[in-house]
């Protein structure tokens, strides 16, 4: 085992390779931690439906509350579609913002009552306020799945041609409305 017969210089790289691989991996982990620290949620699944036509749907209304919610009827106006449920805790935290938006009259908001008992949905709206123009029921997630919804609340901004232009995963904050959604609506209305 004399050192003189050690591998010649030219063959040094195989011994450096593990270090290189580990450094590259470390870099990836570091970037990921930074992303998470900057507020990126690793559980978030980005929608693949952005800039594609929204799925077509025809949802029955809540009992004695206006018309059915049909994708056809939404053509021609810019609208927000909010997927929500009375069972959903996060939806409650979002609700004041939706009421605010509805009051501003900038855009009409339609609700999809997802996997919910219609009586509970109505009770919830009576209790917490009703920002929706139309509400359609989606008890078996058919439309929610068509929208690629993972967890409520999720909100989609749809333009006049029925194309999805923006998706909010999780509650809309006042900031989101002011800085992202409102300017986009103005742009889409031009």
């Amino acid at each position: 085992m004399s050192e003189s017969t050690a591998t010649p210089r030219a063959k040094r790289w195989p011994y450096i390779l593990p270090l290189v691989v580990i450094l590259a991996l470390g870099g990836v982990f570091g970037k990921r931690l930074l992303d998470v620290e900057r507020g990126r949620d690793p559980n978030l699944i980005p929608t693949v439906l952005l800039n594609t036509p929204m799925p077509s749907f025809d949802l029955p209304p809540l009992p004695a509350r206006g018309d059915a919610l049909r994708s056809e009827d939404l053509k021609g106006t810019v609208s927000l579609i909010n997927v929500w449920g009375s069972w959903c805790v996060a939806c409650l935290s979002e609700h004041p913002v939706l009421l605010e938006i509805a009051k501003s009259g900038e855009v009409q908001i339609h609700g999809i009552a997802w996997r919910d008992d219609p009586a509970r949905s109505l009770e919830w709206l009576a209790q917490h306020g009703d920002p929706y123009s139309k509400v359609g029921q989606d008890p078996h997630s058919k439309t929610a799945i068509a929208f690629g919804v993972v967890a409520a609340p999720e909100t989609f901004l749809v333009d006049k041609q029925g194309v999805i232009r923006y998706k909010q995963t999780g509650p809309i904050t006042a900031d989101d409305w002011r800085n992202k959604i409102k300017p986009l609506i103005a742009q889409l209305n031009q």
């Binding site: 011994y15 450096i16 270090l19 990836v28 931690l33 998470v36």
Partner: protein, 661 residues
Amino acid sequence: MFTEIGHFALALALAVALVQAVVPMVGAARHNNAWMAVARPAALVQLALVLTAFAALMHAYLVSDFSVVGVYENSHTAKPLIYKISGVWGNHEGSLVLWVTVLALFGAGVAAFGRNLPPSLKARALAVQAMISVGFIAFILFTSNPYLRLNPFPSEGRGLNPLLQDPGLAIHPPMLYLGYVGFSMAFSFAVAALIEGRVDAAWARWVRPWTLAAWTCLTAGIGLGSWWAYYTLGWGGWWYWDPVENSSFLPWLTGTALLHSAIVVEKREALKSWTILLAIITFSLSLLGTFLTRSGVLTSVHAFASDPTRGTFILVLLAIAIGGSLILYAIRAPHLDGGGLFAPISREGGLLINNLLLSTAAATVLLGTLYPLLVEVLADAKISVGPPYFNGVFLPLMTPLVIVMGIGPLMAWKRGDLGGALARLKVAAGAGVAMLLVSLLMNGTRLIDIGGAFGLAMAAYLAVATIMEWLGRVKPTRAGVWSRIAHLPRAAHGMTIAHLGMAVLIAGVSGAAAWKQERIQTLAPDQSVEIAGYTMTFKGVETVQGPNYEAGRGTIEASVNGVKIATMHPELRLYKQPPQQTTFTSIHTTFFADLYVAIGEAQGAEGAYVTRFYYQPLIPFLWYGVLMMAFGGLISLTDRRHRVGAPQRAAATIAVPQAAE
């Protein structure tokens, strides 16, 4: 009071570990024996302190001291004693205390039993081990303090997740930690050898028992975890390729490779730099697993509540430990290999192929586990890598491995006789082919049947080849069999048992994967369903009270041709604190197969319930196989060459056949 003592003991342990990390290392560099000798007492004191810290935490859980945050969050007075104990490591902070306890345990083990080690190697290895301790104790004290108090404190705790209230899962983490934290010793020895600039047969002999001990515990730990998943999760699966499962399986794969390559270093003085690399990688994968499960970088069903600050801390630890050792490796390793002589047909040739396949398998599992993360960070896309990928890529790698496992042990070191080995393998190959045909005849020839038959054939081949190899040593037809059995090294018996265990495990995996049957239906009382020749009759559900839960307890009778075989009682439990529902399955095992029963929710008012029946042929073999592998490791560990300790270095160097190129 005890809690503060524990906290203080851990802080002291940090100080002692610091001393142990620095003084012996400097002493070794300066050839100062007194400084090097500090390592031994320091390692023992460190263990005593860490054990005190652990005991203090245990005490808080045992007396349900809810003024301690961790106890409040994870325990409850109504919890049975065993789960008060297991609650200690059922959370992030407590499990880290277990982590450093195992770390100190292995260090103290080397300090206490490593009398034959050259002083400088021992001093350096213990110093490196202490550096790891420093990192992790600091991690606990600065980011994950388990001794934090609540003021004012609540009178009752929030309870442990009911899924974790299970005897199998109570002992699973300690076994697992003894395993993958235990690999730290191989790592420390590897780094010490790199610093010394020398690796030889004696080094391999010193490292082997510690690696073997860790491997044995890890095998048992993984087996326990898998068994737990099998009987609690309620649909009869046993392995999910979940990131957390993978992060304990990865060190197992490379650790297995390490055990085998260390033999080549020991016998042939070859594969040295590779063995060192494996030792580093194996523990690095343990560290990586710890990072992945606690940093929030990956998400998994088993992950601890994640926290980016902790993630950053562990990442820095990882960078220092892995990066540092690999830099050292890049500098020193090129000088370690003496251009070993390799005959393609030899024991070492077989072990080389074994290493190639095991490391490729490990790399594949690692790639699959990290790929979603890589794609997301580098390409901002989201993909999933699940069981279909792992099964599809991992299993093909295992096939040649099993073939080599049969051939390798039959060949001599240095100059194997492939013809002779193959001649001796005829019986094994014949057994494999016979098994294939019998299985195809009995079970049919759908694609899944062919897969299952192929698995069984591999198992039969490996079992027969392993037994033939053992018989070849024991020579049962000649006089003096018993003395030969007694004189055969324990390590040889250990190998035979472990390899047989692998064969048994393969049979279990194949049977369960190919011929599992299920019946899922709603049954009213006294209705019955047929599965695999059994008539399962549902007798209804009654309510029973457990220590901290209320359960709907079903009664199901299994009978064959009208003869009652078993009465089974699956439960649907509703725990009080935290309020959560779990299934408690009932399993009737026949040695060759399991009848597995779970009940779901009530359907309507007539006493009808959702019932799930599974017939899982050969799945018990999976557990027997794991037990045999762990037992083989244990037997090997009692080899007197490991106990008596290592030979003197001088003898070892003479023994090396020079193979200068």
